[in-house]
């Protein structure tokens, strides 16, 4: 059976006055039906660019230089703009970081949702209104009739995010791209949004690509994790494997660098800093920060290899040391 989403060899470039920025470098990524995949990395690692590439929203000065993105077996690049628009919002939906700015400030929030039902499902105004109220109840907004008539600025951050989720799920998409949806929300609100997403994902069967830089969130909600560094995918593993047996040096360093609330730790910051994406080195981009770096790492990009069932790593150093690990 074909996977829900398959990204093969994707490269995205941006042109700037200073040169070309290689935001995403030949990445491979797979999402299966109904699974929650976490996409983890620092700022500038290419996670957001990847999600925009999936929706075919990369515009000048950026462009997709190579690679294919297949959704349900169909190469998205082969679709016309008209067909792509049917996919966007209906089959693949997105929620992002600042929900209040993503909502239209001059239209009541309820109408923004019911319009989707009228557009994509062809429902009448009354039926759309009814479905809209059901959606608001689904995302646990109290007093939905009152809230539906309000404007974005009258809702709290957490509630705006719930409205965004309602909008995204209105068309029963198969894939939900969630780009840091809880960053910037208060901890207790974020926790409830996470619960909501997990529950709705399970209930609707939608797969979720959860983009974040917070490892705690990843452990909480994801089934599988993909780690990106400077535009390259360095590791992909089921969540338990990633936390208990991280393979790639970057993943290990990431896990060691975060403070924790449940126990005392000595935090070790990741050495060095993210390399410039302008004319980057041809090989692995972690090479300047890595203890295991060799000349081979500098010259050629290590391919993603399966080192254990469903556990992929892109590291020469790990392959060499695997016996000993």
């Amino acid at each position: 059976m074909t996977e829900l989403l398959e990204i093969r060899d994707l490269t995205v470039q941006f042109e700037s006055d200073a040169g070309e920025i290689e935001a995403v470098d030949h990445i491979n990524l797979t999402i299966r039906r109904g699974e929650v995949v976490g996409l983890v990395g620092e700022s500038g690692s290419g996670k957001s660019v990847t999600s925009f590439a999936i929706l075919r929203l990369i515009r000048r000065p950026g462009r997709v230089k190579s690679g294919t993105i297949s959704f349900n077996g169909v190469d998205l690049a082969s679709l016309s703009e008209e067909d792509m628009r049917q996919v966007r919002g209906a089959k693949i939906a997105m929620i992002s970081q600042s929900p209040r700015t993503a909502l239209n400030p001059v239209i009541p929030v309820g109408r923004q949702i019911s319009r989707l039902f009228q557009l994509h499902a062809g429902l009448s105004a009354e039926k759309a209104e009814k479905r809209m109220l059901e959606m608001l109840a689904l995302v646990r907004i109290p007093d939905p009739e009152k809230r539906a008539r309000q404007y974005a600025h009258q809702l709290s951050g957490g509630m705006c995010q719930r409205v965004m989720i309602a909008m995204a799920l209105a068309t029963s998409p198969q894939l939900l791209l969630a780009d840091e949806p809880t960053t910037g929300l208060d901890v207790s609100i974020a926790a409830r949004i996470l619960d909501l997403l997990r529950e709705l994902g399970a209930r609707t069967g939608a797969a979720i690509l959860f983009i974040t830089h917070d490892m705690g969130v990843v452990a909480e909600i994801c089934d599988r994790v993909v780690v990106m560094h400077a535009g390259q995918v360095v590791e992909s593993a089921p969540v338990r494997t990633l936390f208990n047996h991280p393979a790639h040096p970057y993943t290990r360093a990431l896990v060691r660098s975060i403070p924790r609330i449940d126990r005392d730790v000595t935090m070790e910051p990741i050495p060095g800093s993210v390399p410039s994406l302008l004319s980057p080195p041809p090989g692995c981009r972690y090479v300047e920060r890595c203890d295991w770096a060799s000349e081979r790492c500098r010259l050629s990009r290590p391919p993603l290899t399966e080192v254990a069932p469903d556990h992929l790593v892109a590291c020469y150093g790990y392959e060499e040391r695997r016996g000993a690990c």
């Binding site: 620092e42 700022s43 109290p142 709290s156 957490g158 509630m159 208060d186 901890v187 207790s188 609100i189 974020a190 926790a191 409830r192 996470l194 830089h213 917070d214 490892m215 705690g216 969130v217 990843v218 452990a219 909480e220 969540v239 338990r240 936390f243 990431l254 896990v255 660098s257 975060i258 403070p259 924790r260 609330i261 449940d262 005392d264 730790v265 935090m267 070790e268 910051p269 990741i270 800093s273």
Partner: protein, 324 residues
Amino acid sequence: MALVEVRDLQMHFPLGGVSSLLSRLRGQPEPVVRAVESVSFDVASGETLALVGESGCGKSTVARCLLRLLDPTAGSIRYDGTEIASLDSDAFVPFRRDIQMVFQDPTASLNPRLSARRMVEEALMLHTRLTGAERRDRVDELLEEVDLGRGLGDRYPHELSGGQRQRVNIARAIATNPRFVVLDEPTSALDVSLRSRAILLLEKLRNRLGLSYLFISHDLATVRYLAGRVAVMYLGTIVEVAATRELFARPLHPYTRALLASVPVPDPDAVRDPFTLAGEIPSPISNIVGCRLRGRCPLAQAVCAEPVPLREITPGRFVACHLA
């Protein structure tokens, strides 16, 4: 005597506008935003007290009152024995040498038109009598102290990464050898992987320079690492104070418990405490009598309608809850 003693600090913002006018016409008291309502705490010399809470709890307002960016509506702030809450801005200037602040947003808190070096030097220009050459040397020292290589001093903020900008902020704050530094969410705007570096730097500086910190944050994991004592704020008041380890191991106030329960832990097998609060944080305009958590707390009883003071139930452990 503690280095900083805050007693019954209060900060109310008048709402202004039509509602204010209407209330005055009706002879009612004006509606105010009760950002900070009777907050008291001490920071001993060399200690790091964390002030935690979610948005709207008033922690940033407390910081701004301490730095006299705001004039508190009531209450007392004593620094090293001297009352500073009611000083006018000129009288407060000498204290700005001793009391400093690291701001939250490293980009917004740096003047885009000044180089890193100039910004750090400014504090020296205003508070010391060093000559130009002496200042330059001191700036070099400071930049090295915060792990910013010398070459970076001449760069402008837009030429520095987020982590580097925050370090310029820190260098500026310690330039005059302060004794008390307020850290207003110093890592919130940084990537999770950069936070550790900033926190480790703050720890190193604290140990080397003998600084006292008021560490304001909503990131409980970094609080656990850096702070010796924690005060939890909710809707303008302090609801619990305890030593760090105590607070995390045995939270007594329901709000603290709910807060700790909602922080995601980087361990897929961790079992989460299902304790949650209902509803959302009420508006700080509302004047709630009694426990401010009453409408949301699953353990609420009739007695919670009575005003609840912050009581010391064991030495150093304070809770504002009738049921503790």
